[in-house]
Symmetry: C2
Subunit: 436 residues, 2 copies
């Protein structure tokens, strides 16, 4: 026997039951995005390597599946995130689109990382972005849309929280603490990784950025305090001696969370800075309150990205929510439905050999009329066995053909009630349509 070929490490095959779940989740993502006024877009599965090199930062570029066509001159990479594609598409048409542009996408993304729980080499990600508005209404609207989805899936504000932060606020604090402006991206990267490295490594790398142990400890204390009220902002202002104007954006955002009715879903965590280089203002991650799985979603403002891709200065804010962690969270809590595949409407079967040639034509007729219709490839006329096949594909009705079929009537059995009626073959489509 020939040797089996394995699927690539860290990827998934979607057999029907897996695919039904993916489509179910995508349908929820789409429905929530559409009712929140977003329009769907997509880009190519691969981009030029340059697109990622320009702004995403070394963290992404080192994890790309990049390649060059034999004899070609351009390096490409399988897309690892959607925001650069979106920024490129906006830059291309920015002058002709009325603002704000509200887009969502559901791309698959690939990263050449070591696969682990919640982090695979290929995943699907819901991207939701408002482009062309610097208003905190835009930040709040994308966060509302994320919450709307979580609520739709059955999660509550006791189970998950949007942890909100602001890079400008964190930058001001870090500047006060002695981090040089040109080390700021490094400092954000270090903060983003603080739960993934040992305290010793963290302290050593913080020292390299000009921070002593006491200063790091002070920052960590603030970062780990959950801020819920306006008074908390005043405390930060006092603690770090930054001007009140530095927290204005967060105060305005806080007001918008109330306007959108999602204040209970949100808390503030200045330890959140996100790993990507291009974020500018608001940043946020959605986590379980239990802290069990990785982040469910993450996003923020990227007010300079579209300009850096050759477009006009265009503020933007958005997030990505991956299918892997969300599925784990829902599964952990018994919120992942198990039977989401579409059941059949009708199963056509022949009870006699003479009626068998009619299975094809009747099946064809019902399908062309839009009915989800199955039949068996077996040549048996054992009605019991065939009805079992019908039940296996969860058909609602069986159409039973016997010797009366030649003279124009067929049996229609309701597989839930067991009730069976005789129907003229001419009236079959109409009868089934009415019944379904």
């Amino acid at each position: 026997m020939a040797e089996k070929i394995q699927k690539p490490r860290g990827t998934r095959d979607f057999y029907p039951e897996d695919m039904a779940w993916r489509r179910h989740l995508e349908a929820r993502w789409r429905a929530v995005a559409v009712r929140n006024g977003f329009e769907e877009v997509d880009g190519p599965i691969y981009e030029t390597l340059d697109l990622y090199k320009r702004k995403s930062g070394e963290g992404i570029v080192s994890e790309l599946f990049s390649f060059r066509r034999t004899g070609g001159e351009v390096d490409y990479a399988v897309r690892a995130e959607f925001t650069p594609t979106l920024a490129r598409m906006v830059a291309e048409r920015a002058n002709t689109m009325p603002k704000p542009v509200k887009w969502f996408a559901m791309p698959n993304l690939c990263r050449a990382e070591a696969p682990q729980r919640g982090r695979l080499r290929e995943h699907w990600q819901w991207n939701v972005d408002v482009i062309g508005s610097d208003s905190p209404v835009a930040d709040a609207e994308v966060i509302f849309t994320a919450v709307d989805l979580l609520r739709e899936m059955g999660l509550t504000s006791q189970q998950v929280k949007v942890k909100v932060s602001h890079r400008d606020v964190v930058r001001r604090i870090l500047l006060r603490m002695g981090v040089a402006e040109d080390k700021m991206i490094d400092a954000f990267t270090l903060l983003d990784r603080r739960d993934k490295i040992t305290p010793d490594d963290f302290a050593r790398q913080a020292a390299a950025l000009g921070l002593d142990a006491a200063t790091v400890e002070r920052f960590n204390q603030v970062a780990r305090t959950r801020l819920r009220s306006s008074d908390d902002w005043s405390r930060i202002v006092d603690d770090f001696g930054i001007p009140e104007s530095d927290v204005t954006q967060l105060r305005l955002l806080h007001d918008q969370f109330h306007a959108f009715g999602i204040a209970e879903w949100c808390e503030y965590d200045l330890g959140i800075v996100r790993g990507l280089a291009y974020y500018t203002g608001t940043v946020f991650e959605i986590h379980e309150t239990s802290g069990a799985e990785r982040a469910i979603a993450g996003g923020g403002r990227y007010d300079n990205l579209i300009e850096s891709f050759g477009g006009p200065a265009t503020p933007a804010v958005g997030f990505g929510m991956g299918d892997v962690v969300l599925s784990l969270v829902l599964e952990d809590r018994g919120l992942k439905p198990t039977d989401v595949a579409p059941p059949a409407d009708v199963f056509v079967l022949a009870a006699t050999a003479d009626a068998q040639p009619l299975v094809g034509p009747i099946t064809a007729e019902l399908r062309a009329a839009g009915l989800h219709t199955r039949f068996s490839y077996k040549t048996t006329t054992n009605v019991g066995k065939l009805l079992k096949d019908a039940t296996n594909c969860r058909a609602r009705f069986a159409v039973i053909l016997d010797d009366k079929a030649a003279s124009g009537t067929v049996g229609v059995k309701d597989l839930a009630s067991g009730e069976q009626v005789e129907v003229a073959r001419d009236a079959l489509v109409e009868h089934l349509r009415d019944a379904i």
Copy 2:
């Protein structure tokens, strides 16, 4: 201003109007597949290079975007066709799945070819396969499913035809004509390319396979004759001196086309052999009768592929239908709908500054109730301008908030009829749900 970055050559960006069409087409593909009893599957966007090297043939392997992870040991390739993935997935679980397995998929596929009309470097392809049956019922069922889709899109049997052939029949004829068994794949490849190369090149390459000019001419005559009846089969048997048993499979298939009611959509063309190495029996392509665009779909039997991937001997048949050519064909005939994006249900606007803080909460409430709800980011209270925004997103109703909103009533304007009623804020969701 920063330099713009271009999308990769031969790929597409899907702006909202493009994406709405892609989703519209995918929804039709899915609906038709489901009503024909197929279940959806998918695989990774990239596979090991070995998967394509084993059976697809040099034609595919030379057009792959292949890559190796820095420091890795395995070569990968972005998927260029879906059948190897499907065969790998079936081989993995063949013993536990009841046969026949009926699967469909809608993957994006990439080929590093020179882009041209109808042939891009990335396209989406509807794959429909019946696995585990060697019955001509399976061949006919996948072809019926293709026809069901074409009919669903508004095409007729006068506009498009399924051109059916059979590799065993063509092989027998080629053997009689003097082609050696070990040159058969080369002969199929040459036949597949006969309309893409010059007659001189064709004759030269045919000679290299052991065929003289007169023999090639004779084969071409037969290949170009459209066969529609059983008598035509007898003529082939006579013409080439092959045994009657060699055309039995095609005769049985012909009967099934009649059973499924698609005989008028099908014709026979022994010049069709398909380019892929793994096809074994029935092969077919769907073309416009005008011959204007490239093939709309192509497929056939691949009875040995699953075994060659380490599974048990498992006959299979299926086809792929790409989005690019189908879209061109529909567009050429005015059958591509232009407005398939979902219109908004409601647009919420404030007619007074005092009412403006209510836009957020009411929008949030309507969205959470499942209504597609929009609002403006502008701070204007110019009702005329805002109603224009509402019309631009094709909203059915406008919810107008003025000073009465504080005391609990809002205006609901039907944007088609212009009629406006006052509704209690408490009853707004219910009122709109009833009206929509």
